[in-house]
Symmetry: D2
Subunit: 143 residues, 4 copies
């Protein structure tokens, strides 16, 4: 997978937390699922559409699929930058693409996707509210 050239790429930067490492001395692989999540939430906040507000409308985006490829370990003492983009947007689902890199060296630690579907509290699939489709749609047209 490589970064798309035709759309907005959002960047979120964190310091690796000590608690995120494991006894192999590297960031534990489950952590990237959380980096992905936090990066898409930061993406939404930076677009003026906080996911906390999304849930206030009584609906939620639940992850229906996650795929991760691990390329090189990240370690404590470094930062990671998570590049996030909207890979696909449908009326009921959104797919984000991710690439986690070392901002110093450019080395790629992990790439992946997360597919989310819009559901009611009872778990019924439902249309993403128009305002959100439009916000996220703008990220597809940006370039």
């Amino acid at each position: 997978m490589s970064l798309p050239t035709d759309r907005l790429i959002h960047e979120t930067r964190f310091w690796v937390r000590y608690a995120e490492t494991d006894r192999m001395g590297i960031v534990h692989h489950a952590t990237y699922v959380i980096y992905f999540e936090e990066a898409r939430n930061q993406f939404s906040r930076d677009m003026g559409a906080s996911y906390a507000d999304f849930e206030k409308e009584g609906i939620a985006l639940v992850v229906s699929e996650a795929n991760l490829r691990y390329l090189a370990p990240a370690v404590f003492g470094q930062q990671v930058v998570t590049k996030t983009w909207i890979d696909d947007l449908k009326s009921r689902r959104i797919t984000f693409g991710y690439q986690v890199e070392n901002p110093e060296s450019g080395e790629v630690h992990c790439t992946g996707t997360a597919k989310l579907i819009c559901v009611t509290p009872e778990g019924q699939v439902q249309r993403i509210p128009q305002q959100w489709l439009e916000s996220w749609g703008r990220a597809l047209e940006t370039k």
Copy 2:
């Protein structure tokens, strides 16, 4: 701190999970807070009073205080046994005592306490329902 001799000691046993270790090669210290929580939930289940049912009554027990002393590291490849007892029980709060040990060697990894208070969803302190006071009270009288 040493184990009380006058009351029921509940034991919960887990395998250390790889994800719980950190790059020092040992169980990360925040993990014990989760061991404590899971041990008291198992304690309640074994008393026939699942905490999941407690929350169904529209109330919750929130942790108001946690204190931990770390004595010797636990590592991947071992089990840990968490010994749990009720240290104190009041009408609105309950304090659990803990000792996490290596079941093979008896070595003590961590001791501590967690104080919980009964609250409504709005965060107002409230009386623990009678049935639960009685269940937990029995654990105080057992020996």
Copy 3:
């Protein structure tokens, strides 16, 4: 994905931990990556080939790929059973298949795979030691 019919299926059972839930009231999706890991470690232990011993030989299995499909949420108050099998075994890599179910209802929460490669501490890919290839190979021939 469905369970394979031609090979050994290992089962590991946990109680959902409170800390594993999120504010949606369900097990957070990153948790399944940890369930997968813990299930394959339990699988190895039950085969008499603890992964803790594997690392003692100065090598490690690092996850190079993880794929998860989320079908139905798991909640606090229930157990989950993780069914694990060896999907593919090569001289330098092993792929595990997973299905996480509610043991009461049989409902499937999540399915997935994790591909691991054998590396030296310096990150160089290397052959899985013969003894381990044989142990895991037996799990492929069991049925």
Copy 4:
């Protein structure tokens, strides 16, 4: 506990991560142990004395005690600021004080302390290297 008035208070700010919440809808209480850790690591980085470098000297600071008081829940959608100071500094141990607040409202979520001791990889207590004693010592004299 209240903030000390006679020494340097370091501030680290995070967004609450979704994965850090639990089904009560609030930041899970074990998360604060990780906030504390990350805040003291940021404190060290900002003093020009990264803890990653500390471990390169073949020694480590292990937590020997942690004490937390929970005052008001933090939620997804907000930031938290962790105020950190050095509460006590001895030749072989350092104690940090913490106060986690909502930066918008000033509400205090959690206060606490973490005591760390300097050890060799074999777990033997040892003197904190002079350079680090001096770095941290400056944070005690700053005001």
